[in-house]
C-alpha cells in the first residue's frame, strides 16, 4: 500500500521531470509556451483589428445603401486632407492643439503635487493624497462630465462664485475653453502618477550634492530635477495626449457649440453611416500617436513607466 503510493508519487514526479527536461533541452519550446499565448492574443486581437481598421479606411461606401464597398481607393483620405475644403484639417488641428494644451496644463498642475507627495508629505498624508488623486477614477466618467456641465452652465457654480466676487459671468458651456478645463481635470491623475514615480526615484544625495556645489534652488531644479523628471512628464503626456486625442464623450457633452468638433466626435458621427470614412479618420490619431511615441522613446519615457 505504502509502496503503491510511493510509486504513484514517483511516476507523477517522473512525468514532471520529463516535461521540465524537455523544456530544458529545447529552450525555444519554453519560450514559446510562455510567450505564445499573450503574443498570439496581441497579434490577432490588437494588431489584427488595427490592420483591418486601417485597411477599411481605403474602402468606400455605397451612397445609396451606405453599405461598405470593398474596392481600394484613396477617396476618404482625399476628403480628409483636401486642399479646398479645410474642415478636417481644422478638426485635426483643433484636436491636436487641445491635446497639447491639456498635456501642458496637467504637467504644470501635476509637478508641485507630485513633488509634495514624493518628498515632503509624511507617509500618512501621502497615502491620503494618493487616495485623493485616484478617487475621481473610482466614480463614473459620465457622472464627472455631467457635474462639470452643471458647474460651467450659465446659472452654475462657477458663475455664482464669479458674480459673488463682483466679476463678470462667463458663458463657457459648449466652448473649447470648457473642454480644455474638463479634459485637464479628467486626465490629471494619469500625469500625477508617473511624475510622482520619477521624482521619488531621484536620490536625495543628488540634490544635496547640487547644493554642496553651490547651486541655488532654481539651478538645482533646472539642472538636476527637471532632466531627471522629464521622462516622467513624457510618460504622463502619453496618457493625457492620447486620451484627449481619441475622446468623443467630452466633445459631445461639454463641447457641442459651434467650432468644437474633435476627431473622436467626428468619427462617432460617421460610424453608422460611413464606416470606411470613420476608419480613415481614425488612422489620423493612430499616425499622430505613432510619431509621438517615437519622439517619447527618444526622450526615454519608457524607462520611467
Amino acid at each position: 500500500m505504502a509502496v503503491d503510493v510511493a510509486r504513484e508519487a514517483g511516476s507523477l514526479r517522473g512525468a514532471r521531470l520529463r516535461v521540465s527536461a524537455a523544456f530544458w533541452r529545447r529552450p525555444w519550446l519554453k519560450l514559446a509556451a510562455l510567450v505564445g499565448p499573450p503574443v498570439g492574443i496581441y497579434t490577432i486581437v490588437y494588431v489584427g483589428s488595427l490592420a483591418v481598421l486601417l485597411a477599411s479606411g481605403f474602402w468606400a461606401v455605397n451612397a445609396f445603401t451606405s453599405e461598405t464597398v470593398h474596392t481600394w481607393n484613396l477617396g476618404n483620405f482625399r476628403t480628409i486632407f483636401s486642399t479646398t475644403d479645410l474642415t478636417y484639417w481644422r478638426i485635426i488641428g483643433r484636436t491636436v492643439a487641445m491635446a497639447a494644451a491639456v498635456t501642458v496644463t496637467d504637467a504644470v498642475l501635476a509637478f508641485p503635487l507630485a513633488y509634495f507627495m514624493a518628498r515632503l508629505a509624511m507617509p500618512r498624508l501621502r497615502a491620503l493624497l494618493f487616495v485623493a488623486v485616484l478617487l475621481p477614477l473610482w466614480s463614473s466618467y459620465l457622472v464627472r462630465i455631467y457635474s462639470w456641465r452643471t458647474i460651467l452652465s450659465t446659472s452654475g457654480a462657477l458663475n455664482w462664485v464669479l458674480t459673488g466676487l463682483g466679476l463678470p459671468a462667463q458663458h463657457l458651456s459648449g466652448t473649447n475653453w470648457a473642454m480644455w478645463l474638463v479634459f485637464s481635470y479628467i486626465w490629471l491623475p494619469f500625469m500625477v502618477l508617473p511624475v510622482f514615480a520619477a521624482i521619488e526615484r531621484i536620490p536625495d544625495s543628488y540634490l544635496e550634492a547640487s547644493g554642496d556645489l553651490g547651486a541655488r534652488a532654481g539651478r538645482t531644479f533646472r539642472s538636476v530635477m527637471l532632466p531627471l523628471v522629464l521622462p516622467g512628464f513624457v510618460a504622463g503626456s502619453i496618457f493625457t495626449f492620447a486620451l484627449t486625442l481619441g475622446d468623443f464623450i467630452t466633445p459631445a457633452l461639454i463641447g457641442g457649440g459651434p467650432g468644437t468638433a474633435m476627431i473622436g466626435s467626428t468619427v462617432e458621427a460617421n460610424v453608422g453611416l460611413n464606416v470606411p470614412f470613420a476608419a480613415a479618420l481614425t488612422a489620423v490619431p493612430v499616425a499622430i500617436m505613432g510619431l509621438y511615441l517615437m519622439a517619447a522613446k527618444r526622450l526615454g519615457a519608457f524607462e520611467a513607466l
Binding site: T43, I44, V47, G48, L50, A51, V52, A55, V61, A63, F64, T65, S66, E67, T68, H70, T79, D85, T87, Y88, R90, I91, Y146, R149, T150, S153, T154, S155, G156, H171, S173, G174, A252, L253, G256, G257, P258, G259, A261, T266, A269, N270, V271, G272, L273, N274, V275, K297
Partner: protein, 393 residues
C-alpha cells in the same frame, strides 16, 4: 521596441495583412438573397425577443403584460442616435447579425436599412392594428418602397420650436427666430445632418425662387443654399445637442432660450415648472416617425411579429405615447390616452385635422433619386453628413 528588427517588422506586417485578407471576405457574405416572401401566419413564440430601441420603447409598463402573455422575454439594446442604430444592425455581417430581431428605426435610418438589406418585408395583414392607422402611416415613404412594407409604423412627433416665455418676447411664430441675430448665443439646435432639411423647409417657404419641392430631395443648388443658411446660423448657436437630456439641461441652466426640439423635452421642462412653450411655426416643420422593422437574420421572428401586433393595438399605442411623449399612428388611441392622462389626446395633436399632419414633412433618408421631375441628381445622405460636419466643425 528594439527587438523589432526591420525584417521581423515586415514579417509582422505580412502576418497582419494575411489576417486582414482572411477577415475581409467573411464580412462581404450575406448580400444578394433571392426574393423574400414574408410569413402568412404567426407561429409559436421562441421565448425571446432582442430589440434595438429608443430608450423606453419597450417600457415595462406595457412590455410586462406582453411578456407574460406570449412568453417572449424582451432583451433591450438602447440606442442613442439613428447612426448608432444602423451601426448596431450592420454589426456582425448586417441584418442584425443574427442577434437582433427588431429595430425601432426613425425615418432618417429606415431607408438606409431597407436599401442595405438589413431588414426584410413584413406581412401587415398579420397586424390587425395596421388597418386602423391614419392613411399616411399605412404606407409612408420612409418604410414602404414600391408598395412593399418594410416594417410597421409606430409613433411620430413634430420637431417643434421651443422658447423660454420669460426671455423670448414677443412669442415667435416663425423659424426665422433661430436664424436671426436677436437671440445669438442662446440657440439650441439638434446635432443631426437631417437638420439640413429644416433649413431647406425654411427656404422653401421664404425663398420660393430656389424651387425646393421637398426638403429631403434637394438638387445641388438648393442643397448649397440650405448649407449656406446653416453656416450663417452657426455663430448664433450655443450648442448642437446630441441627446434630449442635453437640451433639457441647457434650458434648465439658462444656457439657451430658444431652439428646435421634440414635444418630449417641452413636456419634461414644463413638468419641472420651467416657463417654456413650443409651437409649429408658420413655415410648417419637419417631424420624425418611427417604424418597428424586422431584421433580415432575426432569430426570433414569431416573437417579433407578436410584438409588432401588440404595440400597434390602440391601447398600447396610447400607453407608449404617454410614456415617451409622442403621438400614436392610429386615431383609435385617443380615448385611451385621455383615460391615462386627461386632455393628452389634444395635447399631442392626435385629434388634429389632417391639415396638421400635412404640415409636417417627415424624416426620410435623402437619396440621389429625387422622386420628382424624374431627376436623379439629388444630394444623397452621405453628402449631407459631410456637409453637416463642415457646418458644425
Amino acid at each position: 521596441m528594439r527587438w523589432l528588427t526591420r525584417r521581423r517588422a515586415i514579417g509582422a506586417l505580412a502576418a497582419a495583412g494575411l489576417l486582414a485578407a482572411l477577415v475581409v471576405p467573411a464580412t462581404s457574405i450575406g448580400s444578394g438573397s433571392a426574393a423574400f416572401s414574408p410569413p402568412t401566419k404567426i407561429g409559436k413564440g421562441e421565448g425571446s425577443l432582442n430589440v434595438i430601441e429608443w430608450p423606453a420603447y419597450t417600457d415595462p409598463s406595457f412590455a410586462k403584460p406582453f411578456e407574460k402573455a406570449t412568453g417572449c422575454t424582451i432583451h433591450r439594446k438602447d440606442a442613442g442616435s439613428s447612426n448608432q442604430m444602423v451601426a448596431l444592425m450592420r454589426a456582425g455581417g448586417g441584418g442584425g447579425g443574427g442577434q437582433y430581431d427588431l429595430v425601432s428605426a426613425s425615418g432618417d435610418a429606415s431607408l438606409r436599412l431597407i436599401y442595405g438589406k438589413d431588414v426584410v418585408p413584413i406581412n401587415v395583414n398579420l397586424l390587425p392594428g395596421w388597418k386602423q392607422f391614419f392613411p399616411y402611416f399605412k404606407s409612408p415613404a420612409h418604410n414602404t418602397v414600391n408598395g412593399v412594407h418594410y416594417g410597421i409604423s409606430l409613433q411620430w412627433g413634430p420637431n417643434t420650436l421651443i422658447y423660454n416665455t420669460k426671455k423670448v418676447k414677443p412669442a415667435p411664430t416663425s423659424w426665422s427666430v433661430v436664424y436671426g441675430k436677436k437671440y445669438a448665443g442662446k440657440i439650441s439646435i439638434p446635432n443631426n445632418p437631417i437638420q439640413i432639411a429644416d433649413a431647406a423647409l425654411y427656404l422653401m417657404k421664404t425663398k420660393p425662387a430656389l424651387g425646393i419641392r421637398d426638403p429631403y430631395e434637394l438638387t445641388k443648388g438648393q442643397f448649397d443654399a440650405a448649407v449656406a443658411l446653416l453656416k450663417r446660423q452657426k455663430p448664433l448657436v450655443k450648442r448642437y445637442w446630441n441627446y434630449a437630456a442635453d437640451q433639457i439641461t441647457d434650458f434648465k441652466n439658462g444656457d439657451v432660450t430658444v431652439g428646435s426640439t421634440w414635444p418630449y423635452q417641452t413636456l419634461t421642462l414644463q413638468a419641472s415648472k420651467l416657463s417654456v412653450k413650443d409651437l409649429i411655426p408658420r413655415e410648417g416643420t419637419t417631424g420624425w416617425a418611427d417604424t418597428w422593422m424586422l431584421a433580415a437574420k432575426a432569430p426570433h421572428p414569431n416573437c417579433a411579429y407578436m410584438w409588432m401586433k401588440y404595440v400597434t393595438m390602440p391601447k398600447v399605442e396610447a400607453q407608449q405615447a404617454i410614456v415617451f411623449g409622442e403621438t400614436p399612428v392610429t386615431p383609435l388611441a385617443c380615448p385611451y390616452m385621455n383615460k391615462l392622462q386627461a386632455g393628452s389626446c389634444a395635447q399631442y395633436h392626435l385629434n388634429a385635422p389632417a391639415a396638421y399632419l400635412k404640415s409636417i414633412h417627415f424624416w426620410k433618408v435623402p437619396i440621389a433619386d429625387c422622386g420628382w421631375g424624374g431627376r436623379k441628381d439629388c444630394v444623397d445622405f452621405t453628402a449631407w453628413q459631410q456637409a453637416w460636419t463642415q457646418i458644425t466643425g
